[in-house]
């Protein structure tokens, strides 16, 4: 088990290296720079600015400085290795770490709330559908699921606003700050995922309740509740767990659109504007952060298998 985790951890090194190189090259391949303005600056000032941010260095040196492998022009090791995402180029007074500290919690809160909705709605719906297979409950929840799968967050968002904010007036149209503000965006974000989870839970539950060990559990006289919760659900949850990792990552990155619709000051909105402004360090930092996050959540999912199903052995 620990050997498996260590091997997976070592594998993340080339993955992150590759992602950082590709992102770095892509970001720098985009024509134009962060200091291109409508009115050209004097060449000396431009050169000084470039020098200050190390943009006058050769590209490979900029990369190794950024990653913290080599000393930067001011003679320090300050890069990703040191958990220093560097200064923001267009926002003079802020570092990327500060930007993350200010905006990431917002996106993360939204992502967690959406995941809670996805699991909280999806799992019970899937269980009910499976336990009462081919009943009205089953058809109703699967019909709901196909609606959820088909209607993307970009559509659910405006419709929720139309219904709950504009027609009924229960919730604020947009903004951020209170519990009421979180409800609609996280619903918009989480509903499609809850539909995926509902269908998956139903499918794996249907498979599991036909297994011998469930019959054994029933035969030895356990109550139906214990059979379902302790024996069936635990195993039925394995395929669901596999999608949770990538799903959470998708939810957090999927906030891009939702943050725009609901005017939420999250990292996604910041990322988009950084691309237009050629704020290299913010774009690089955000991509790397999300990639790290994706790798970590996949690893976490792989490890949780072992706890859910002891039969799974790590080679």
């Amino acid at each position: 088990m620990s050997r498996f985790i260590i091997r997976r951890l070592i594998w993340t090194i080339p993955v992150i290296l590759f992602i950082s190189i590709v992102t770095f090259l892509l970001v720098h391949a985009v024509p134009g720079g962060p200091f291109d303005t409508e009115k050209p600056r004097p060449a000396e000032i431009q050169a000084n600015l470039m020098k200050h941010y190390g943009l006058d260095q050769p590209l490979w040196k900029q990369y190794t400085d950024y990653m913290g492998f080599t000393r930067n022009p001011s003679g320090d090791y300050a890069g990703i290795l040191q958990w220093d995402f560097g200064p923001s180029i267009t926002q003079r007074s802020r570092t990327v770490n500060e930007i993350f500290a200010a905006h990431l919690p917002v996106s993360a809160t939204l992502g967690v709330a959406a995941l809670l909705i996805a699991v909280g709605v999806g799992v019970p719906l899937g269980i009910i559908a499976a336990l009462k297979q081919n009943s009205a409950w089953d058809y109703l929840s699967m019909a709901l699921a196909i609606v959820g799968v088909s209607v993307p967050s970009i559509v659910i968002g405006p419709i929720l606003i139309l219904v709950f904010a504009l027609t009924l007036g229960w919730l604020p149209v947009a903004g951020w700050g209170s519990f009421k503000h979180i409800l609609m965006p996280s619903l918009a974000l989480g509903l499609s995922s809850s539909a995926i989870i509902a269908r998956l839970t139903r499918a794996s539950m249907l498979q599991v309740i036909r297994e011998d060990y469930i019959r054994t559990a029933r035969a030895k006289g356990l109550s139906e509740k214990v059979v379902i919760v302790r024996h069936a659900l635990k195993n039925a949850f394995i395929p669901v767990a596999t999608v949770l990792g990538p799903m959470f990552a998708a939810l957090v990155t999927g906030t891009f659109v939702i943050e725009q619709i609901f005017a939420i000051p999250g990292l996604g909105k910041y990322f988009i504007s950084s691309i237009t402004n050629r704020d290299y360090s913010v774009v690089m930092g955000t991509t790397l952060l999300y990639a790290l996050f994706l790798v970590a959540s996949n690893l976490f999912v792989d490890v949780t298998y072992a706890f859910l199903d002891p039969r799974i052995q790590f080679e």
């Binding site: 992602i19 992102t23 985009v30 209607v151 419709i159 139903r202 499918a203 725009q260 991509t287």
Partner: protein
């Protein structure tokens, strides 16, 4: 279909006992695909999905006939105008602050262009994105996965590690970065003779072919194509790994068939079912990706009408003119429903054991 025919089909697909039919002289030989098509046509949701897709395709092909106006046409003086019927069904009191004009069946956008026409022309963006995404995924994914699965060993190991690395990329971020790169490097006006110029020209040709103006569709195809194939590659590899040990593959090896022939003639037909299902169910993902991109301003360029950019414009005016966000949203939802219904139906038809699962 006559009762006899359907009885024969039921027999052939091994459901005779269930229906209590046993007339052997009517037995007809049906292959997997005929059987699947039969089952598909019995699935009402799938048929509805298929009909809607055909209608959408026709609508996009004949958008210039179906739409009341061209997507750039409009009267700037009538910006945000709404027809009378909308003021009665929409929340709020639109009639108190906006112009009423029945020229536009669904209202006009902020530049006074007909919303209905733009929604109709929007199919020329969304459907090609869905189909080209599917085609790229099929071509690259299938070839990549087949090679990896068939040759196995070191080749497989390296090829699948590459897919693993690609998977670790936050897909949406990668596509956004690619789009920013494509649009700034190849878009606009380029110097003749450079590679960027060639790309630029191909892009214009693609836009022209789709009947759009300056949409930058090629870049969207490229951005989505780069990330679309990985899932299919993994699926194809897995299927082939389990198939290549089968006797019929061994038998063709014995009689001296070449690798390419074995893959194309013997293995691929056997794995096309699950791949077709996966691809159909992936089409909505490609379509939403484009909608997301256009929403954040990195998708198609104006004045090309994308549902994404229309939802973006509309959601900015959602308090005053909710119709502007509602109709493109409905169009998108209908498209997504159609492909999901068809995909689900295909899966049930090709593998009845999977019926009702995930």
């Amino acid at each position: 279909m006559t009762k006899q025919e359907s009885a024969a089909r039921a027999l052939a697909s091994g459901r005779a006992d269930a229906q209590g039919l046993n007339s052997e002289n009517q037995q007809k030989v049906t292959n997997l695909w005929q059987d699947a098509i039969y089952r598909l046509t019995r699935n009402r949701a799938a048929v509805l999905g298929l009909i809607l897709i055909v209608l959408l395709v026709l609508m996009s092909a004949f958008a210039h006939v179906v739409a009341p106006m061209h997507f750039t046409a409009g009267d700037a003086a009538l910006n945000n105008a709404v027809p009378l019927w909308l003021t009665k069904v929409m929340p709020g009191h639109m009639e108190t602050y906006t112009q009423i004009s029945d020229i536009y069946p669904l209202g006009a956008d902020y530049l006074g262009r007909d919303l209905l026409s733009r929604v109709i022309y929007g199919t020329r963006v969304s459907l090609p994105v869905g189909f080209v995404g599917a085609l790229t995924a099929l071509l690259i994914g299938l070839i990549y996965g087949s090679v990896s699965g068939y040759y196995g060993g070191k080749v497989d190991n390296i090829m699948m590690r590459i897919v693993d690395i690609m998977y670790a990329f936050p897909t949406m971020l990668l596509i956004i970065l690619l789009m920013a790169f494509f649009k700034t490097s190849f878009g606009g006006n380029q110097e003749p003779g450079t590679a960027a110029y060639t790309f630029n020209q191909i892009n214009r040709a693609v836009d022209g072919l789709l009947g759009l103006q300056g949409g930058g569709m090629l870049f969207i195809f490229m951005g989505i194509g780069v990330t679309a194939w990985m899932g299919i590659a993994r699926l194809a590899r897995g299927q082939i790994l389990s198939l290549k040990e089968k006797e019929f593959v061994e038998a063709s090896h014995m009689i001296g068939a070449r690798d390419l022939r074995i893959i194309v003639r013997h293995i691929l037909p056997n794995i096309m079912g699950p791949i077709l299902v996966a691809i159909t169910l992936n089409i909505p993902t490609y379509i939403t990706t484009e909608v997301f991109l256009s929403f954040i301003g990195l998708g198609v360029d104006p004045p090309t009408p994308s549902w994404g950019s229309m939802i973006s414009d509309g959601s900015r005016a959602i308090r005053s003119y909710p119709n502007q966000v509602l109709f493109p949203s409905i169009a998108l939802a209908i498209t997504m429903f159609s492909f999901n219904f068809l995909g689900d139906g295909l899966r049930d038809a090709l593998d009845p054991r999977m019926k009702g699962t995930s």
